[in-house]
Symmetry: C2
Subunit: 499 residues, 2 copies
């Protein structure tokens, strides 16, 4: 079996770069800066007709003047010159390319002709390429970012394949706030050669990638897509957003990536057969991918809600219920135990609402452990993160500029968080949190960095929990339970005994 | 007609405060700090049995030792002592109170009894009070914040009434990121005296409030609620989130605010009759309230999408279509005009996708003006905000520490934004934006501060536009168009002529 060309494209030992200069205003230079300064350890060879150095690196006059072929060519020069350059790459022994430049198949007849030229040259020299009209790739773990958006991103376990370059570039600040780390992100552009199916196959095999997020404007080879996806989804979750299902969406997609879109129902069916979760918007796409990459799956849909505030607790319970989860009443003895541990204003039946108080040990440790230890409960939704944000402004407002109490608070809360983040692994049950504050709060940052997603609203945490359960069902369907489990014999650890 | 007691509660000239001390660790002190240091210009009288000053203010030993009655008492002392204190307030001539303390009607029989005691004392002295079990109020324009959450908030035009204190306290950081400004926010708690209907009537009359967001766990007086809401919604939009409609939600609400919840269908009917938009989650509740407070209503549902990136443009078009908006094809002559102004890679039929380029005049001025000037188009969804965030990191990564180019970029982009924010007023049509970067980008901040909402995802902008159209229909239904308009006579400025 032939190696997937993405193996080299995502992990090149050397890159030849066409389209960068010392002029910081150009897109090509912006992208080269990211490669040069983003942490990538491989060799980089800029090509420039006039300059001796580009961004401090020795520049080559052209590809033929190089000693030995690079693993990968990244090309950001005007479109008409690219077939010729690709020919040079072929002659020089370069076998992989990313073609960023737009103005091909997506703009009509002349563009299509030019795109066919690329394909012909590539075939002639056995070159495999990504694009054209794409934003390139991000390989989180090795620090390779060929896109133009320079914001520092987080390496992690969500793999992204997108027909829009923006979803792997301009979203980087969004991901950072969400605490979403990227394993490999690929902007597929016009898919003239390497297509979404190749990318899917690659991420299916990639060990760093624990969940896959797809942004789709139209699938060109549905049979191959289905076959590949079906191999992946029993082991690794895939979440897809498809935007070509409405009349307006289809028109937008056609002019964007030249995709032929189909009706929503067709895609619903395709995703269902493939075991893919369909997200209806960008928020859900990345929220769900994050939870799936980082948390264990619930064995059933009985979820506990633990909160220090009634409103967000009620909101989580309501949204969980709307999305197919259950918030079962705790058994009477459990209720009694919780009642004994909590203030007299607390609720203890599920949701558990400890009401506002400063007992970190109660909310981060004692109650979560008690709850997650319940055989009846498959996962926990949590609203009660409590860090320095509550006090930063207060110190300032109060005119107390000594930072000692804040330092102490920071240490105390982080210690509590460090215990909290161990719980999913310890109990093999998922925890998802919501907090209206973001990473400006030290505890939110600590919990996100510790692998537990923290969403900005209660509803988003609840929907992400529902996505975990949805994928659990998909997985269970693919690997049917053994008969002994079905009859509820001893050892049935998936059983939900109910309240 | 009796004055609404909230008139004084929201705008007191003097406050007597019970429950604050010089111990920064207590909740009562946290709340007092906010009042003292938050910008409020009225008089503040802390009551303390021992201290001579509290947070630098002269303290009084008790209410009876004060010279003249304050407009408002804010009470955060233990619950059992409150009836006695309220009695003292009554004797001293104080007629308004906010009772923050919890442990009343929401915790069972003993709490209910204590709550009745409060009501009896209040009746005896004609005291009107908010709470108990609430978080107090925020009056944005006068800088009065009685809640414990000290984060600086933005004064603006969204009025909030919430059965959860968290939605007017812990959400303040969330609001700040969204650029949502508060006119008046009220945490109603157990509604032992002043209830949601009183608050609604008050915000209905409040000039600063242009839209009202409700968080509801259960409505106690549906007939009064309906009557009051119906008076408001023809002039001022109301968005409500109700969480008691599921079994789990209802249980959570009962323990939280002692509310009796009803099935979703009942509330759907009530909201429909009242002309209230129902939001299904917190995200939509505040997104929609923000758009309704700040943008003109579309006259029809024909919306243009203007973007500098295909993916987000497609996503906005698709979600708009899903939520009942139309993204009509532009007329051929309009298409030609746009084609002539944009790069050859651009899309020009609607969505208009200028693709990534640095022409600020094109994306912020020329194209928006051309589009909003079209009789066919009722509003615009915009993805193309372009500020310093794209370059901050690049400067650092490139090792160019001179900040001159960044300063120039900041000035240039802000100048462009300053023109852009005038457009909704100029054309009397709404603009809603999406950008994955937040206020860390100077242009996002400038546009939000200029009154145009910028949402973190394309779908959220599209759904908020749909909410504007939804409210426009509610308003039109209440004030039926005159027959001449219906027949499309000259002067029918609401007509959608179509492409």
């Amino acid at each position: 079996m032939k190696a997937n060309p993405l193996q080299t494209i995502m992990n090149p030992e050397s890159i030849v770069y066409l389209g960068g200069s010392n002029d910081l205003q150009t897109m090509g230079t912006a992208q080269l800066i990211n490669i040069v300064k983003g942490g990538y350890k491989g060799k980089i060879y800029p090509i420039h007709r006039k300059e001796k150095t580009v961004l401090g690196l020795t520049a080559y006059r052209n590809i033929t003047s190089m000693d030995k072929p690079a693993d990968l060519a990244v090309i950001v020069i005007p479109g008409k010159a690219i077939p010729g350059v690709l020919e040079e790459c072929g002659k020089a022994g370069i076998r992989h390319a990313i073609i960023i430049t737009a103005g091909y198949g997506e703009i009509g007849r002349e563009g299509k002709r030019l795109q066919q030229e690329l394909i012909d040259v590539a075939h002639k020299y056995d070159i495999r390429f990504l694009g054209p009209n794409c934003m390139g790739i991000v390989n989180g773990p090795i620090g390779l970012n060929t896109t133009w958006f320079p914001t520092k991103y987080r390496a992690g376990h969500v793999g992204i394949i997108s027909q829009s370059g923006s979803y792997v570039t301009q979203t980087l600040t969004y991901f950072e706030k969400l605490g979403l780390g990227i394993s490999q992100a690929i902007s597929v552009g016009n898919q003239a050669d390497i297509d979404m199916v190749d990318c899917l196959a690659y991420l299916g095999e990639d060990d760093q990638t624990r969940s896959i997020a797809l942004y789709i404007e139209g699938i060109k080879k549905p049979a191959a897509f289905l076959k590949t996806a079906r191999k992946i989804t029993p082991q690794k979750p895939i979440v897809a957003m498809y935007v070509g299902g409405t009349e307006a969406g289809a028109r937008a997609c056609a002019s964007h990536t030249g995709s032929m879109a189909g009706p929503n129902k067709l895609y619903d069916g395709l995703f269902h057969q493939a075991g893919i979760l369909r997200a209806r918007n960008i928020t859900d796409l990345f929220d769900w991918s994050l939870a799936l990459a980082q948390q264990p799956l619930p064995k059933g849909n009985n979820i506990a809600v633990l909160t220090n505030s009634g409103g967000p607790g009620s909101s989580m319970a309501d949204e969980a219920d709307n999305y197919g989860l259950k918030i079962p009443l705790f058994a009477p003895d459990t209720q009694e135990k919780i009642k004994a541990m909590t203030p007299f204003t607390a609720a203890y039946v599920n949701p558990v609402d400890v009401t506002m108080n400063y007992d970190l040990d109660l909310i981060y440790k004692k109650l979560p452990e008690l709850i997650l230890n319940l055989r009846q409960i498959d996962g926990m939704l949590f609203y009660g993160i409590f860090g320095t944000i509550h006090f930063q402004d207060k110190m300032t407002l109060a005119g107390n500029h000594s930072d000692t109490p804040l330092d102490l608070l920071e240490k105390t809360t982080e210690k509590a968080c460090n215990e909290f983040i161990k719980l999913p692994e310890k109990f093999k049950k998922p925890i998802l949190c919501a907090c209206f504050s973001g990473r400006e709060d030290n505890s939110v940052a600590r919990i996100q960095d510790g692998g537990i997603p923290v969403y900005p609203t209660p509803g988003r945490a609840a929907r992400a929990m529902a996505a975990l359960w949805e994928y659990k069902k998909i997985k269970g369907h693919r690997f049917p339970r053994s008969p002994s489990r079905k009859t509820g014999s001893p050892g049935d650890d998936a059983g939900n005994t109910g309240p």
